[in-house]
Symmetry: C3
Subunit: 676 residues, 3 copies
């Protein structure tokens, strides 16, 4: 059904979606007609409408003003622009928080969040939920069958973590469902430590200040609960709109690497994964991080096309320093999303506002108007997105997968108490992803619940916390013939954040064929020499493990330090498969060499071997065609690419064969018949 | 009337005021006679009395103890020392805050400020205001006609920002006066953005936590309101003392660059601008900043003499590191104030206390007593200040003015959301002031409401927020023949902090003769080469603008980067005048060259051209005489200064003519007949 | 009596105590037997039991479960392991804080501490004290005469600072006892400054936010009160257990340099000083700091053996980076404690937990089990500790003492307002202690109330705040013939944190023979050249004083800067003694040279002169024997030590005479007959 809804949407749009957030309630109606004229000029076919419009739709409790929205919906429809209609529940109006201050979230420091920002609600608040359901129902009643309606956009960037009374009540309900009784809870949380035993459910509260030196199992469950409480809000609103009409997609917009919501649990509830992404133009490497996010979002729904729901046309305004996207960069980033499975290119927002916090956030139509560089680039991109309509609905195949897991992330970063407490899970994952990106491998991102059968290699970065099913999944993957590349401090704790018994790494000792006596984080500045069996040496730092080989063999050993002679990298044959385990942080080049070597040994397909790293090469395909995306991220050097067979460059309409030159910051999209 | 009051005070003192804060209530009466004896030895003729004495004057609600104050007032009067009597309302007593905790300000983080610090009051609190009015009235009743009374010192260093309930009520009243109705408020604040519309006045509160990502118009108005609430407190007390006696000056002591009070709004309510200044002796450049503050304080009252109300005799105690004023520095700083229009040299405080927070703050009479280096310097300075009595009441003429505006300051620094969020308005202003100081130009500081007719050149540093009248004033100045030197990111938003429509810089597009497509803040470390039309090159960094010339011409263009060939500095003939606009942060030397070149081209008078920068040269004058102040800030190098005509060195009484040598850290004050 | 209790304990143990915290309530009873078996294997003879067991002992108010504890006590006793039984009052159970939230401490930022951490109690809370007394009484009733009971361990690491209502009430009671009436309080606190006079006791509260810019006398008294409030809790529980049985020692475990409790006031109430110490293995110098702490703890009870109550077997888990103790380091640190007077070597904790905040804190029996490196080192050390049983009860003689004082510490670090505000008292003390350690001097640590008669030299680091008795003690020490080496900014304020009158340094002007006009903290990076009378020069920085010699003479003068020619180091003959005063921060080498020179001149005994600094050399002795401890802290270089006479190496049982070689990280303990 999900697929049918998305296919219907794409059919209706006739290709990829192009557009952005549209907030007509912030402008005089006189501006609306100019908006629509310029939208058409820019190739816009879909807008997200009313995201923050609650106060405009229900200015007083129970009083509704739909007239302006009727007018805008009609106007858009008349001009062939479809609507992604938002429930406005991310922005509770002033009357609601004034009458019911308990709706406002109490923050981590114990202060109550004031009205006048955004995301000012406790997701567990019954009052909030009731009012949110009501406005959602009113909108659904009125617009479910409006001809402009093409999709529902539930709330916006779900995110608040609240420490309210209502959150404590919700936490208790959640824990009751999870553990059944207090005895099980006490056992799961090891509350005998420091005498934290609960003898009555009422004693259990959300973790209030201070949040250092706390029970790690409690903190972990609080993270899970918070994600689930937000998800409940989504599901409640989704079910309301779906009760009126069942055939349009319902989504919400996620945010890049967002630690507060476990997107693996959310994705099944969505019709499509939708991403808001704001790479920092000041970061010359941001496109690599973007690539990973795009792969993650494609993977969240099992490879189905996803939606790029928000990006900036140029600079944002929320950081300390907000530089512009230089000419060509916005186009390249947009095509990159499409190349990795996006079926939409959308922006926040259509027209730059004059007031409010985000008035210096760029827009498709900036303060400088239609003559601006930005609008010209937006309109040109709109034309090109139209040319790419054939790729809508196509897919990507990958033979290597990277594990990315929220529970592990929380375990590593939510609380002190580890051997070292400066882990950055995302940075670590990116260290593992970067060589795959640079060598042009197609990569999927997986959870421990994903179907691993399509893959030859599974990369497991720093999987500190893995539950029993997860351990079994990774183990079975190797046993069945897969290659697992795993990095240090993995398999340490169970689903309750308790150290697994019988020595480190409890979960993976047999898998890696070695036992770890003790974790040896490195002193600041300490560096070690690591000698590989092929005679090469490399340096490592940050982390070591006092490792004792069992069935495994040393792929590399320390050449110095107190662990000299011990294994630094372990290889282990396991079942029909193979495991490589990095017990120290080897310098990137050496790590890459080993990882890419394992991919080659495992026979992972790579059609772009030898092309320079800055030329991003990806393939989308359907049953008949494949679409080669060649994106040159370098601003100075053109790249010549041999294209076997030959096809058509969708952006120029010209034949593409022999050697194609991709100019600096340029892009070529070759369509050709599938060769397989 | 203001002038008459100040003239009467100066006549009474027979010249400049010399003295400091005197807190006899902290000492046994036995000490008082020694105090007065040493005051006379030090040349003291005025003391600020009772600044924190509320608890000593009204130990219980409604119980008054004036005996000690009677005695001190009499003693001072007998010894020829006049009194600047303070209302003690900066220090509400323990009984008041204990009975009425709501008087204590709730701070930005939501915590209520506790008793035991200072400035512990919410200026909007009716309870505070009532009690403050009462003690003021009692003091005025008793001392208005005491012969020692020479001036009223209202409260102390007005400053608290409070987030109390009473502040919210006050904020609503203030907004009602400003906007009339909620619809206008919603429009002014663009509350449709993020759905922040107010539908009832009771929903409007002071901006509570967190204060990031908030409505910038609301924050701006909250700053204005806070300044006005404090000003109301001042005016209320001033009116009480004035209702008893109308012929003595009433002032309050301001603090250097103080962001919480818009001194342009306060100055008209004062009889004289009074400054507390604590330059850091560890900062080798602090005298340049002092010079600007002195010029500002002289300008606040339209060029009339101002009062140096507090400074340290040596070290302070409030910073992390508090170094001493090395020998001669305190004298030089004091004479610098006089040279720029001060008619007083006063200190905090007379005698160093044994206890309390500021016991290591230096004093005129330090812990080491009358034999100390400090007391000896204080006494010698007292003698010299006496010799300078002829300069009392004299004025300064300037032909160049620098715009300094609190609203613009707030706009730049009070909230994130700008293209970059590390603006320092004061640093930027100082970049513009420094070359004027180094080249010995007399400078006035102006607001957008000042009379600009005396000036040939107006310097406008980073005027991000200017209201419509301000825009008109600057525009008319140029149209009428003036030269405007303006720097980047000016004229962007209106009085409500809303981006001005129709492209950047909305306010000044015609003035600068160029349109800005987009603001391009620079990446960290990024530097650009800028080529001037005269062939010189310079580097710039931090900021660029994608500028498109209209009537303007490029005075300099970028030689590299993506904006190569575009204008970096624009010159525009506008009406009878000329505008130079810096669209990037040019290195200081190049900026100085352009600015000083414009001053010379505009014919701005400079009598000290060619003298070294570290010799500060200023002139005060009256109808018959002029007083040349020559202050050598260098500790090692004497400077020879040719003095045309000749006059008398007031400090030595010797004739000064031909070439005068100003020794290291030395000062010469030449009086001579006016030449004009 | 105290001595008798401790002697009885040591007799019972037959030597030194060896063991650690044991938390059987966190484990299934099935594990207990394995625990006891391995304890025996490791030589454990004492465990601290039940430290956090309140929730397990009293799961509901008034419901007790002693069965498990009975069983564990019996099991331990059967296996010859004595019990240091804890009152579990450091961990109030969830039911207590849920029913009585006022028990939870309000923190410095005004937030109430939540349940789920530890030390979550306001020591002034009557409710807390009542419940703590009750559980203490129940335990004492049941176990006072259990044969396993060998010692009482009251609570754990006393520490909370609370800003509750109950704390304010307690503070008022404490102040009433100290000052009697409000007038005396107002005088002591100099409340006339900033008008902070109190006119009713109810106005006096604990210092609430913000705590900058506050009354320094009030802050000082609040520190004293907090320490005393915690001490009251200790005494109350101690008296309860003692009321049941009077012949076993009662102690509590202190923490290294802990600023919140004045251990000089606590020590007389303890039967032995007990130390928890966690030197950072990443700090190559941590053993020098440990040595000082060991000397302090030996000195707290006048030289009597003390107890090393907690240390880590390897890494801890509470810091950002937690590195392991490399092989041999744990042993060396343990022997170092014994060498400086410890009669126990104990750990936190016996068995590493699977859950809870400290699950990665190392343990005697780590996650890796009995085969682990750590357990093998623990067991080997247990064997060696057994061999050292003869040293139990022996003492150390020292002729040099270092003053270490909590009041002075608080004065320097608890509040801004000093000439500079980055004092680190502990760092300063360590600067003075390091040369003594490097030259192998035996050192005692003293308070101003200690008996100073045994010493030839008294080192007084930065004694900013000294009360009148303290001033007299130091003065009399010098007058009587002792040598005082004192460093700058000493003797400044009195017991109320008020500057002493009549010029700096009020307390010690006659002692040092000089008057200080002003304190001249140095600018960042400023360095001075100091010339000694012997012609040597050195650099100094950070601090200078404008010093004027009276009876003193310059031992060194400044060779540059504005104080050139002034004394930088002063020597003064005073009575029959001598005083050396450092008025600037001389570089460490030069300081060491002067200090060691003074020790030699004073004839302080040193039996290890000339041995390398990294070989720590100490002596314990009784009437018949002396025990030379030679510990080599270097990991690479062996040291040869000539041993006159000869004796027996206790660790090997071999004769030790002539030249002994101490291997890298090695230790030798020579017993021989006393030579004196």
């Amino acid at each position: 059904m999900t697929d049918a809804r998305m296919r219907a949407l794409m059919d209706r749009l006739g290709g990829l979606a192009y557009g952005g957030d549209y907030n007509p309630e912030q402008w005089d109606p006189g501006v609306w007609r100019e908006d629509v004229r310029l939208m058409r000029e820019a190739g816009v076919n879909l807008v997200s409408l009313g995201v923050f419009a609650w106060a405009s739709l229900e200015p007083e409790p129970g009083t509704y003003e739909f007239g302006w929205l009727d007018e805008v919906m009609d106007l858009l429809h008349e001009n062939g622009i479809a609507v992604n209609l938002a429930t406005p529940t991310a922005a509770p109006p002033a009357w609601l928080t004034h009458r019911h201050p308990e709706v406002l979230p109490v923050m981590a420091d114990g202060e109550r969040f004031g009205f006048g920002n955004r995301l000012h609600y406790d997701p567990s608040s019954p009052v909030y939920r009731e009012h949110a359901a009501n406005i959602t129902r009113r909108l659904a009643e009125r617009y479910s069958f409006h001809p402009a309606l093409a999709m529902w956009h539930i709330s916006n960037e779900y995110g608040p973590t609240a420490y309210n009374e209502a959150a404590s009540a919700g936490f208790r309900r959640w824990l009751t469902r999870r553990y059944g009784d207090l005895e099980t809870l006490n056992e799961a949380w090891t509350t005998r430590f420091w005498g934290q035993v609960y003898t009555d459910w009422d004693q259990v509260e959300v973790p209030s200040v201070p949040r250092t030196w706390m029970n790690p199992s409690r903190i972990l469950d609080f993270k899970r609960f918070t994600s689930d409480a937000l998800l409940e809000c989504f599901v409640a609103e989704r079910d309301i709109v779906r009760s009126f009409r069942d055939d349009v997609p319902v989504v919400t917009n996620f945010m890049r690497f967002y630690r507060n919501a476990d997107y693996w649990r959310w994705a099944p509830e969505e019709d499509a994964a939708a991403l808001d992404i704001y790479p920092d133009p000041a970061d010359p490497d941001s496109h690599v991080s973007s690539a990973f996010q795009f792969d993650l979002f494609r993977s969240l729904k099992g490879g189905r096309p996803w939606l790029l729901m928000e990006q900036a046309a140029s600079a944002v305004s929320q950081w300390r320093l907000n530089v512009v996207k230089e000419p060509g960069r916005m186009r390249l980033g947009s095509l990159q999303a499409v190349s990795r499975g996006a079926d939409s290119v959308m922006f926040f927002q259509w027209r730059a506002g004059r007031g409010g916090h985000e008035r210096f956030h760029s827009a498709m139509l900036p303060h400088s108007g239609p003559q601006s560089r930005t609008f010209r680039e937006v309109a040109e991109l709109g034309r090109e997105v139209g040319l790419l309509s054939p790729v809508a609905g196509t897919a990507t195949r990958a033979e290597v997968a990277v594990l990315f897991d929220w529970n592990g992330w929380w375990g590593l970063e939510e609380l002190w108490g580890l051997p070292r407490n400066d882990f950055s899970y995302v940075d670590t994952v990116m260290r593992h992803y970067r060589p795959l990106w640079e060598h042009h491998y197609a990569v999927d991102v997986v959870s421990t619940r994903s179907d691993l059968s399509p893959y030859k290699v599974l990369v497991v970065p720093n999987a500190y916390l893995v539950d029993d099913e997860g351990v079994a999944a990774v183990t079975e993957f190797a046993r069945g013939g897969g290659t697992v590349v795993m990095s240090f401090f993995s398999g340490v704790v169970d689903q309750c954040n308790r150290v697994r018994p019988d020595g480190y790494p409890g979960a993976f000792r047999r898998l890696i064929g070695a036992k770890i006596d003790e974790y040896w984080p490195a002193r600041p500045g300490e560096r070690f020499t690591v000698e590989f069996t092929d005679g090469r040496t490399a340096t490592s730092d940050w982390w070591r493990e006092d490792i004792h080989l069992e069935t495994g063999t040393a792929l590399a050993t320390y050449a110095d330090g107190l662990l000299a002679g011990r294994a630094a990298v372990v290889a282990n044959d396991f079942g029909a498969g193979r495991v490589v385990y990095f017990a120290t942080l080897v310098e990137q080049d050496a790590f890459d060499r080993v990882l890419i070597g394992e991919l080659r040994a495992a026979g992972v397909e790579n059609r772009f071997d030898g092309l320079p790293a800055h030329l991003e090469c990806t393939v989308r395909e359907d049953e008949r065609h494949e679409y080669l995306f060649l994106l040159n991220h370098d601003a100075e050097t053109p790249v010549a690419v041999p294209v076997e067979g030959g096809g058509t460059d969708l952006l120029t309409g010209l034949p593409a064969s022999g050697e194609i030159t991709v100019p600096p910051l340029g892009a070529v999209v070759v369509r050709r018949a599938r060769q397989a």
